[in-house]
Every structure is written in structure tokens, then in C-alpha cells.
Symmetry: C2
Subunit: 314 residues, 2 copies
Amino acid sequence: MEFPNREEIQEAAVRIAPYINRTPVLTSEYFNHRFNTSLFFKCENFQKVGAFKSRGAVNAVFSLPDEEAKRGVATHSSGNHAQALARAAALRNVPAYIVMPETAPKVKVNAVKGYGGKITFCKPTLQAREETLRQIVEETGAVEIHPYDNLTVIVGQATAAKELIEEYPDLDLILCPVGGGGFLSGTSLSAHFFSPKTKVIACEPAGADDAYRSFYSGEIVPSIEPKTIADGLLTSLGKFTFPIIREFVTDILRVEEEEIIEAMHLIFERMKIVIEPSSAVPLGALLANKLDVTGKKVGIMISGGNVDLNHLPF
Amino acid sequence: MEFPNREEIQEAAVRIAPYINRTPVLTSEYFNHRFNTSLFFKCENFQKVGAFKSRGAVNAVFSLPDEEAKRGVATHSSGNHAQALARAAALRNVPAYIVMPETAPKVKVNAVKGYGGKITFCKPTLQAREETLRQIVEETGAVEIHPYDNLTVIVGQATAAKELIEEYPDLDLILCPVGGGGFLSGTSLSAHFFSPKTKVIACEPAGADDAYRSFYSGEIVPSIEPKTIADGLLTSLGKFTFPIIREFVTDILRVEEEEIIEAMHLIFERMKIVIEPSSAVPLGALLANKLDVTGKKVGIMISGGNVDLNHLPF
């Protein structure tokens, strides 16, 4: 496959700028002292819709030619991508068709409705979701926008690390969580183009380590019955994200649940920010001594802040 | 009494700048839309030690002449002021004597120890705390730094609103929580000097409404058996804070627990920041329709983020 290039990421940054937040980069004396390092947290929990997903969704919707865009966009998702896509479509004033499992939490259904998304409910199986989506695309002519295995989405996600690198051009490492690989692919592309000396290391829950196994076996290992609190990292790598990750990512570290939860708690307590469990995996890797960061400058990609506050794991 | 003047606040801002954070001002589309207004949250939860108290403590410690400072500083506190004073004293390399009730949570004791504070435990009564502090001051010659009823402390707290006003010079209102009145006094002084058209309105838990009753009766009503989740707002006004508040504050609004908790939850959920319950009282006043802010520009003073994450009220 042909990888996205530098110009596509630069164009995406310009395209999405009016519709997304340039999120802050936070630091923590406590963590720097504890790990004898310098950590720079790129805080996509402060992004629109509370997650980096807004970047890819906006880039995908605003990259479409008018003719295609006016028929609308479609996806199946019960998570952040559904909201992000509905919002992006509303901004371009085109319809968004969202397929959701009938078991989706009401708060997520309402959020999509709040952005004007047209929801179709289906049985809570992957097969039902894909089949329902196929029918909707056929009927409406809408363009399917996959949550991560879509190059325009990946290029959109890349803009987060691009911003981080602009502010901190001499990072030794960037740590990024991995689920389906959209955020990680984009992050590794931006490091490659804008800061080639910066290594990108992925962090994955040990209970959902399909990306690790794919990375080291050389073929996509599907995510089957993943078990982790990091509910944004349950999906498998895809035909676009896998080769990008193989090419531009240095290593994948596996992190146990205990360290993910401890990291999440520490980030709430010490940094005073609300993050989702997926965002805590990189710091969890440091807590578990999976990586020596002594004296290094390390970017940490915080993916989002959409977490059920009534059921925190601490 | 003679009120602090503009120059004292300006000097304090310069004095404390090397030792504190210039905290960010955050906005929320969700709240702006919901209340048809423009809210600007001054986020002292991102301050050193997690609360605005760092400002007053640093100003008090660094205002002392060398001769006095070297004997150390002292206070009785089990809260943020104890940590803030211990930290400020450590920065100036002088001792901090902290009297704490023997019932103080271990995490707070350890935090004070972590900054090198010298702790003396006493019975958990106000009388025991004051008597123990008096003895320590007598023995050591340390200077007592009251948590709020101290003009140098008040002037330090004033720097938070000064920063907010520098960034947003045309605010119609500033809403600020009130307990002992240190943060509120400082805020109202800064509004008076740096943005005289901006009205300051205090927000107080209805279950601890001694400031409200003091304000409207004209004499200090002590806080007796206050009942509120806002554990930073349990104390009574003092001989310095009361006259400042009477002079420079426009009104005090009383907010019920339900709205305080709802506001706290909403700030976590929508703004992705961790705040302590006291910080939620101003937004609670808006949720309860205590104030019409339609079309206005409104500053909201977020006092801190030190909250027991294992016992959130939602």
C-alpha cells in the first residue's frame, strides 16, 4: 500500500482547524520527579466530543467532494466515533446515518441524536451491525466512514501528534495507546514526517493484546474476547492501520489492568483531569517499568475523557 | 480598617510568579449554550498543591523580612493551607510548623510531611488546635500565618482574579465560592482595582450560609455545625475578610447540596477536569436559576481540585 504523505497531514491540519480544538499539552512535576523524566501529555480529552476521534471524522467529512457529501456519511459505532461523525456531518450540513446496537447506553444514543445523527438500531452483533450498515449505504448512497481503517481518518488523527511535535520538537519518544490503530497510525506517521528521530511506542492492555501479537507475528490477529477496562481498545487492527504500524512503530508494550487503573487514578489525582481508561495505558507501562525513560523527553497521547463517572474503577 | 491597595496586589503577583502556576482559563460550549452566556473558568485546580491556597501562602512567606522568616511559619490546618504553607516555607528554606488534629487523614499528613512540614498533632477541637499553635509560636518564635484572615494571604489570593481579568478585561460578573472568605476577599479586591465594572457575587452552600447571614445582618455570624459536601467552605468569616466582602461584594447566593453535586458532576463530565465540591458552588447557583446571566460574560473561580476520588458524590 501507499502510505499517506506529509502534505496530506499538513492539509488535514488546515482543513479541520476551524472545527476542532488545538488541545493543550500538560506536564506534571509529580510524574517527572517520580520517573526522572519529562513527560508531555497531549490532552485530547479536551477535544470536541471529548476524544481525538473528532479530528478524523471532520477530516473525512470535509474531504468529500460536494456531490458525495450531500448524500451523507454512515458508520456503525456505539462509541466516540458515532458522536464525532454526527457532529462533523452536522457542521457540513449533510446527513449522518449511524447504526447502533439496540443495547447501546442511552447517554450515547442521546449524544448522537443531539448532533442530529439519524440512528438505526440493530441486534448487538458485529454481523447485524455490518449488514444494517450495508443496507443503509445501499439505500441512501451515503459514504461509509470507518472509525479507524480509513486513510482520511488516519490522516486526521495524525494532526494531534503533529501539534505536540510543533510545541516539543525534540521528543525522544511518543507513547500511544492502540486498539484498532487509528490514533497510533496517525501518531506514527506524524513522528516519521515531522520528527524522524522520535520513536513511537504503542501501549496495549495485556488482556487485549491482539496488536502486539499481530505486530510480532506479521499478520493481523483478530481481537477475540478481549478483557480490559480500556473500552476504547477492544477492536482489531485493519488493512490500513496494520501496515502503517508495522512500518513506523518501534515496539508494542503490554500493560496489566492493575497498572492501567492505578495510572488512571494517578492522572485524575495529580493532574486534575478526567480521562478514559484507554488513555491511562501508556502511563501504566511506566508504572510497570516496561520502559526506561530516565532523562528522556516523552510525549504521551491522551486519547479522550469519555468515561462513566458513576462507575470509576477506584 | 485600611483595605489592601492596588499596588500590593501587583507586587504580590510579581513576588509569587516564580513559585506558582499561571493557571488556564477554560470555556465550555455546553455550558455557554445551556445558560445562553459566556463562562470563563479560572482553574486553580491546576495550581500548585491543587488549590489557590498556594498563592496566599507563598505571598505570606516571601513577604516576611529575613529575620522573621528564619524563625519559621506556623498554622493549624488539616487542609490545603497546611500543604501550601509547608511548600512555601520549603521554597524559602525556613521551617513550617503545622498543627494537625490527630484525626487528620493520613494522605494529608503525608502530603505535609512530603513538603518537609514539622507536624504537631493535637486533639481534634478548635480549642486544642489554637492552644497547641500558641505554644509552638511561643517556643519557636515562628510567625503564625492564618489560612485566610491575614491581609498578606488575601492579597496573594487576589492574584488569581487579577490574571483572569488580564485575559478577559470585560467581564460583567465574577462568581466565587465563600468559606472563610480569603479567596472571595482577594477576588473582590482585584475586581475593584482592575475591572471596576465587574460585579463580584459570592456563592455559598445553603447548609453553611454563615457568610450570607453575616453579609445581611452586618455582623459576623459564626459557622456552627455547617452541613455541606463543600468541605472547603465550613469556616467563618474573619475580622479582615468580613469588611472587605461587605465593601466589595455585591451579593451572596445560597446553593443547595443537590445543585452543588450536579454542578460538580457536570464539570467533570463536560469539561473533563477534576474539581473539589467547593468549586462547584457557583455553577450550582446557575443550575438553580439563582442568577440571570443571559448574554453576560461571567468569570467563575474554580478554587481547587483536591477531592477524595474514592468517595465522589456521584
